[in-house]
């Protein structure tokens, strides 16, 4: 790696007041033709490019991004990483990903701040209890770490949770995956971008795709704000905009894009050292390294690309948060936003 990050490069650059660090990736103009083009420069698009180059030795490829890399959903999620999914196929996929996360900082030589602080899922009614126990068993059969906690154990693991039996959605139990946790969302995009760029992948920012040129069943290339780029293979990794891109090639997808909201509070001292998720009331909370509470809400039920959701969704999530964590009642929220899912 031409510009490997290490203690020694840190020390060396300290002598020049950190003013001479090279750029982490190039800013190339698009070539006339690529072997493959990935549309979407978020975490998933950049990871796709990285592994295509690394595992499949495809170096003549490009990632095109309409804004800046990591500026879409990658910068809008609540950074939770877990693999405790019910179905075999999901468990296989997500645990494969979690194992990649466990060595990702070393592999990329880029600190993605992966923190295995555990993810706890709460049960609020008898059906939740049955479902979560079933999921715990399914996870264990798939070799994924999972334990079931009763109410007292939930309280012991996260003492600020209100486990009183007379709240609107009492905590009847929960599951815990200790290997799960959070990571720095931006760093993931930056780390993969740097790794892919190193192997020759062109990352082209501020390059919006305007159309896809087809010739019968083949693709000839993409029309962009930086001109026409020839290619025979296109990967669409555009999250909520996947249907929009696919429709340029005349394809329909079984997808609907809905607003999913999140918000962060002012920063405070460490108060919650894990991630707590509650599907029943759509309230997800963790604390960032800066000290902000990162809160995830539910989705609206209508399709929207407006990147804003309804006020009552946030209100519902916050009322659940306040009942589960009365200690947060005087916290002030700093920012609120919406992504698509």
């Amino acid at each position: 790696m031409k510009n490997k990050y290490s203690f020694f490069t840190l020390l060396k650059n300290a002598f020049s007041y950190h003013e001479n660090w090279g750029k982490a990736w190039r800013d190339p103009e698009p070539k006339k033709e690529y072997e493959a083009i990935i549309i979407g420069g978020g975490g998933h698009g950049l990871a796709t490019a990285y592994y295509l180059a690394k595992k499949h030795n495809m170096r003549n490829i490009a990632v095109v991004e309409k804004g800046w890399i990591g500026g879409g959903n990658t910068g809008r999620n609540t950074t939770i990483i877990r693999s405790n999914y019910l179905w075999d196929a999901s468990a296989g996929l997500y645990d494969h990903a979690l194992k990649i996360w466990e060595g990702l900082s070393q592999e990329l030589n880029y600190n993605v701040m992966f923190s295995q602080r555990g993810v706890m899922n709460l049960a609020h009614n008898l059906q939740d209890v049955r479902d979560l126990k079933r999921r715990t068993h399914a996870n264990r059969l798939n070799g994924i770490d999972a334990i079931y906690l009763n109410t007292d154990e939930v309280k012991k693991f996260c003492p600020i949770i209100n486990t009183s039996p007379d709240i609107r959605y009492p905590v009847l139990g929960g599951t815990l995956q200790r290997r799960a946790g959070t990571a720095r969302h931006d760093a993931v995009a930056w780390g993969y971008a740097r790794g892919a760029d190193e192997m020759g992948v062109d990352i082209i920012q501020n390059c919006e795709v305007k159309g896809i040129k087809r010739n019968g069943n083949d693709v000839e290339g993409i029309e962009t704000t930086k001109g026409f780029i020839k290619t025979k293979k296109i990967g669409v990794v555009a999250a909520g905009h996947s249907s929009v891109i696919a429709s340029m090639a005349g394809l329909r997808l079984p997808l609907e894009s809905k607003p999913l909201q999140a918000l962060v509070s002012e920063p405070v001292k460490p108060i919650i050292d894990t991630v707590v998720m509650s599907n029943a009331v759509h309230a997800y909370v963790s604390q960032s390294d800066k000290g902000e509470l990162v809160i995830g809400a539910g989705t609206d039920d209508y399709i929207s690309y407006s990147q804003k959701g309804s006020h009552e969704i946030v209100e519902g999530t916050l009322s659940a948060i306040l009942e589960l964590y009365p200690i947060f009642s005087r916290m002030r929220m700093l920012r609120q936003w919406g992504g698509y899912c």
């Binding site: 905009h241 249907s243 929009v244 429709s247 329909r252 997808l253 079984p254 997808l255 609907e256 894009s257 609206d300 039920d301 209508y302 399709i303 929207s304 690309y305 407006s306 804003k308 309804s310 006020h311 009552e312």
Partner: protein, 91 residues
């Protein structure tokens, strides 16, 4: 959040309504004769349009009637509202 003009009750807050997805998807006349692909097409494939979308809503906490809405999904602006069975004034 936005205001929806229910064709039966007038203007109400969106929280009184529930979205029913893309409108004018015709239920197959002979469901027993469909292939898996045709079923999938009917059940799951959607335009998921960024722009003007024709969609169904129900006034679930009001008159409980279904109707159609024409909405720009890029900014949530409602262009028209019309009853079930009627034709939209804009195309």
């Amino acid at each position: 959040m936005f205001i929806i003009n229910c064709p039966y009750c007038g203007e109400r807050e969106q929280t009184e309504f529930k979205a029913g997805g893309e409108a004018h998807i015709v239920r197959p006349k002979q469901p027993t004769e469909l292939s898996d692909d045709e079923w999938a097409e009917y059940l799951f494939m959607r335009k998921n349009i960024k722009g003007i979308q024709f969609e169904r809503w129900i006034h679930i906490h009001g008159c409980r009637k279904w109707f159609n809405v024409v909405r720009d999904t890029s900014n949530d602006e409602i262009k028209a509202v019309y009853k079930m069975g009627e034709k939209p004034l804009i195309k």
